[in-house]
């Protein structure tokens, strides 16, 4: 009640009716829409980065992953269009058409994405094609590749992720899972365990869709005829399993299953997807539970004489150690579970391999098959004495291992078996995590790095002559194979990227446009390193190790030359499935240059294009909004009590001014972060604007009145009685000043979200002749460029922009702009010639704001 009374009083004191308040509320609402727009922009960029990262890692995600990210992104892109149209009162009607066009294209690809595989529940291993890991999971897809290459692999089929999706939908478990993840947020490990047990039980009890039940049991029965003792095995083949995230041992394999139990075994393997350790593992790796997709590999059971695991190189040997084979008699389950001490063979990695040594283990019993499952048999002395593999078999196995390593271009962790007929078969092959030497990176070179830090936008190393982007440098001069060094991560640099050996920037994060482009084009990129443009000189040869976040002087051969560990560790990219094109329609950025005539809604071909366009236009609209308010401010404005050459009125959009401000506003009551910084600059006592300046006679003759150049005689502090307006919120400032004959506008967002921070500044006009106004504009252009803005000037108009700096840097710039506004005020009168531009720029740089010394002798004439 007291609050409301206060509002009425406020209205009365300010002498404006409801109309003024309406305008204020309308402004507040538009500003909020602007904030929502900025946030949605960041959210879409985060989704884009996530998609790019997942696709770059290759085969880790299923069609469902892309589908879910597409749905999330589409809502946010659509929302951004709505926000922009709200702010601008519907000035962008064409955007919605562009959105629906792109959407239709993506829908079509996703629909065709399944292609001939749409609705396929069960697929024979030999029918699997390259690039179908999203359908069959990584394990089955690796085995299918071996089978295609003629390597010995047991017969089998895969129950696809499509079948999994049907199962989850049919049983209603999918929706329950999404809810559950929300309920489980922040819960203790115990609660997670309780819940995952409950969920697993639900899966074990859930009916399979009838068509799946039928196909699975038929295919299982057929396959069992090929299996030892008429049995089959079922193994997890989750999407993303056995890749960089190995999930080793977290999911289930069931051996010796009678075909009649195929359905319940299938449910058991699927249920293991939600075993507590799997849930916890995924959480730690940042893999979301709702993205987990499980295919199941069903194979004819092998009754092995011996089986085991082969590492094609010692995992602790930095890629240089020998090949290792662990072997047990019978089935290998105990070996992988760590309950048996296996026999060990070490072999030299060469063609043909050479047995270095053999060490018997301590196996006391072996695991074999029985009619309805598994049986344990204790080993007698003779059985214990006979090695599981003969020397010839070990050599043959090692040869297969090296072939696998070559095929997958990466050291392998192989599960193998030796059949009763003495035939070797491969049960599974997955990338081996080799420690001690990091993947794709050599050990740090002995050279002292020039720079350390920043964020890896795209790993890898590159060397070449540095090309430091400056206002004078033209991108077309960028040398092939050069290293692009820039202050900010501006998409304007995109044109040079395909020719760059590497990219380094002072400012910027991994979710930025340029970082995205670097990933897309495969350019090693290190962003936000701080002072690269200061410490690196143009033309200097440097080496960038983006993965290790280091920049070295000169060419560091160990990093850039061919290195075996790279070849060993980098998995060969799988062929991209057709539906990856849909990702391109979300992620690619074509609209990189806001000044191009092609920067229009009709040219938006991707979601990324749309948000880039909307983001750019939102700045324009906020500018326009400030300008409108400057012309007709309506109610709610408070005058700042400060001695300035113009009246400065504040409009608060929310938390920009201290609570309880009356009708008079004191500078310290401005709590808006950017607003306070600008005021600090405007009120800097070092700039004594209220003091006559030297005026060249020619300049004086060309203006209307000499009184502009000296303080008003009546002591009143104003320029032709004009007002300036500052619209503020906690993190926002729009400053608008039409004083005398010139116009200054400034729009800035400055807060904790570095990605949102920007300052946009415009200046034009003046009272002197055109050539003098232009010279002043040149001076302002010079000063802003020195401050790090990207600046454009046409005649007497200057516009400058800077973004994505940390808040403290932004605040320094805003304060500087306050001083600059006062320093350049009426300066057009002084602009007798171009040398004056240099002279004044030097004076400003020397903080001689008042042109105190050497006015006569210093002024060129």
């Amino acid at each position: 009640m007291v609050k409301r009374l206060g509002k009425i009083l406020h209205r009365l004191v300010n002498g404006n009716g409801g109309g003024g308040n309406r305008a204020h509320s309308d402004l507040k609402l538009r500003f909020r829409e602007f904030k929502y727009l900025l946030r949605a922009n960041n959210e879409v960029l985060a989704i884009i980065a996530e998609i790019e990262q997942q696709l770059a890692e290759g085969g880790q995600v299923g069609l469902d992953f892309l589908r879910s990210r597409y749905i999330a992104a589409s809502a946010k892109v659509y929302k951004m269009i709505r926000h922009l149209n709200y702010i601008s009162a519907g000035r962008y009607p064409l955007l919605e058409g562009a959105f629906h066009r792109i959407r239709a294209d993506i829908d079509q690809i996703l629909e065709e994405g399944g292609g001939s595989r749409s609705g396929v529940l069960v697929l024979p291993l030999e029918d699997l094609e390259p690039g179908e890991a999203h359908l069959a999971g990584s394990k089955a897809s690796n085995l299918a590749e071996l089978s295609r290459a003629g390597l010995p692999v047991p017969e089998g089929f895969v129950v696809t992720t499509e079948a999994f999706r049907r199962f989850m939908e049919f049983s209603g478990l999918g929706g329950q899972l999404r809810q559950a993840v929300m309920i489980l947020e922040g819960s203790s490990l115990g609660e997670v365990e309780d819940f995952s047990r409950l969920l697993q039980q639900k899966i074990l009890d859930a009916p399979l869709p009838p068509e799946l039940e039928k196909e699975l049991s038929e295919a299982g029965r057929r396959l069992a005829q090929l299996g030892a003792r008429g049995l089959i095995s079922l193994r997890s083949s989750a999407v993303g399993e056995d890749t960089q995230s190995s999930f080793a041992g977290l999911y289930r394999s069931l051996l010796g299953v009678p075909p009649a139990q195929a359905a319940s075994a299938y449910r058991a393997v699927v249920a293991a997807l939600y075993a507590p350790e799997a849930v916890v593992y995924r959480r730690r790796r940042g893999l979301l539970d709702q993205d987990a997709e499980m295919a199941v590999l069903v194979q004819a059971m092998v009754e092995p004489k011996a089986s085991g695991v082969m590492y094609t190189t010692d995992p602790l040997g930095g890629g240089k150690g020998p090949l290792l084979i662990s072997a047990v008699r019978g089935l290998g389950q105990g070996l992988v579970e760590g309950s048996v001490d296996p026999d060990l063979y070490r072999l030299e990695r060469r063609h043909p391999p050479l047995l270095l040594d053999y060490a018997p283990g301590g196996q006391g019993e072996s695991l074999g098959l029985a009619a309805q499952g598994l049986s344990r048999n204790s080993l007698d002395a003779a059985g214990r004495e006979e090695p599981p593999l003969s020397e010839g078999q070990a050599l043959e196995l090692a040869r297969l291992g090296l072939e696998l390593e070559e095929r997958f271009a990466c050291p392998q962790d192989v599960e193998w078996a030796l059949t009763g007929h003495g035939r070797l078969v491969i049960l599974q092959s997955r990338p081996l995590q080799v420690l001690a030497a990091r993947c794709g990176e050599a050990a740090a070179p002995e050279v002292e790095p020039l720079l350390v830090g920043g964020h890896t936008a795209r790993p890898g190393a590159g060397a070449g002559p540095a090309f430091v982007v400056s206002p004078d440098a033209e991108l077309k001069d960028f040398p092939d194979g050069g290293v692009l060094v820039a202050r900010s991560s501006s998409p304007a640099l995109a044109a040079a990227l395909p020719r760059a050996a590497a990219l380094v920037t002072d400012v910027g994060g991994v979710a930025g446009h340029l970082a995205s482009l670097a990933r897309e084009m495969g350019v090693p990129a290190l962003v936000g390193i701080g002072e690269a443009t200061k410490l690196i000189t143009n033309g200097q040869v440097i080496t960038v190790d983006a993965g290790a976040k280091r920049v070295y002087p000169g060419q560091v051969a160990e990093l850039t030359g061919p290195e075996p560990s790279t070849a060993l560790c980098r998995p060969r990219p799988a062929p991209a499935p057709y539906w990856h094109q849909a990702a391109g329609l979300i992620n690619k950025l074509n609209l990189t240059d806001p000044h191009s005539p092609r920067f229009v809604p009709a040219r938006c071909a991707t979601f990324h294009d749309i948000i880039r366009y909307v983001h750019e236009m939102s700045f324009k609209e906020m500018f326009r909004l400030g300008d409108e308010v400057g012309r007709d401010p309506g109610g709610g404005a408070l005058r700042l009590e400060a001695v300035l050459p113009f009246e400065l009125w504040f409009i608060d959009l929310g938390d920009g001014l201290a609570p309880g401000v009356g009708t008079a506003l004191k500078p310290e009551q401005i709590v808006s972060i950017p607003g306070a910084a600008l005021i600090k600059g405007l009120m800097d006592p070092a700039v004594d604007w209220n003091r006559p300046r030297p005026v060249s006679l020619k300049g004086l003759a060309s203006v209307f009145s000499a009184s502009l150049l000296t303080p008003p005689k009546d002591g009143q502090v104003r320029d032709m009685g004009q007002r300036a307006y500052a619209i503020v919120s906690a993190e926002y400032l729009n400053f608008n000043c039409r004083v005398g004959y010139h116009f200054t506008a400034l729009d800035s967002f400055c807060g904790n979200q570095q990605n949102d921070n920007y300052i946009s500044f415009r200046f034009h006009g003046g009272a002197a002749t055109e050539d003098r106004r232009q010279l002043r504009a040149e001076l302002i252009q010079r000063l802003l460029t020195d401050m790090g803005f990207s600046v454009e000037r046409t005649g007497d108009q200057v516009s400058a922009f800077i973004k994505k700096y940390p808040a403290e840097l932004m605040l320094g710039l805003l304060e500087e702009l306050g001083r600059l506004i006062l320093f350049t005020r009426q300066m057009d009168m002084l602009m007798s010639g171009r040398p004056m531009v240099d002279w004044l720029a030097q004076a400003y740089a020397a903080k001689n704001y008042n042109l105190a010394d050497g006015e006569e002798e210093g002024e060129p004439q």
Binding site: M1, K3, R4, N21, R22, S25, D26, K28, L29, R32, Y36, S68, Y70, I71, A72, S74, A75, Y78, K79, R82, R103, D107, G175, Q176, R178, Q179, V181, M182, I183, E185, G186, Q290, G654
Partner: protein, 137 residues
């Protein structure tokens, strides 16, 4: 308790109860109903500032409920929260002036942040239309 009222609408009773309880534990004045019809009745009896609305529900679905809420109570902000997201329902909901379209699971902190924002917007819209939220201070 918060100075604003939140109504959660979701047909899954377990989920609804858990969410309402967790919101209350975080001092949000929250109530829950299990259908779109019940939500409209609730809004007639008792005001709410922000509605958190499930999309896929038996009977009146979330989109239809949104349409009717916006018709009868245009000042109420609606956040759609769905476990069965689709591009169509997102566009449809946002075109009907839903404040946001969120996909389950959403972190509680994030949901509360969105609710606060929606309430902040609701206050400003109230200033504009002359229907401020009921003053509870």
């Amino acid at each position: 308790m918060s100075s604003f009222k939140v109504l959660v609408v979701d047909d899954e009773r377990d989920f609804l109860e858990s969410l309402v309880r967790r919101l209350q534990r975080r001092s949000v004045d929250a109530a829950g109903v299990t259908s779109g019809e019940a939500a409209l009745e609730h809004l007639e009896r008792e005001k709410a500032d922000v509605v958190v609305l499930d999309v896929k529900m038996p009977g009146m679905n979330g989109i239809e409920a949104l349409r009717q809420i916006k018709q009868c109570h245009p000042e109420v902000e609606v956040i759609l929260l769905t476990g069965h997201a689709s591009v169509e329902s997102g566009v449809e909901g946002l075109a009907l002036e839903a404040f946001d379209y969120l996909i389950k699971p959403v972190k509680l902190d994030e949901l509360i942040e969105r609710i606060m924002e929606a309430f902040d917007r609701r206050k400003v819209v109230g200033e504009l239309t002359g229907s401020p939220p009921p003053d509870q201070s």
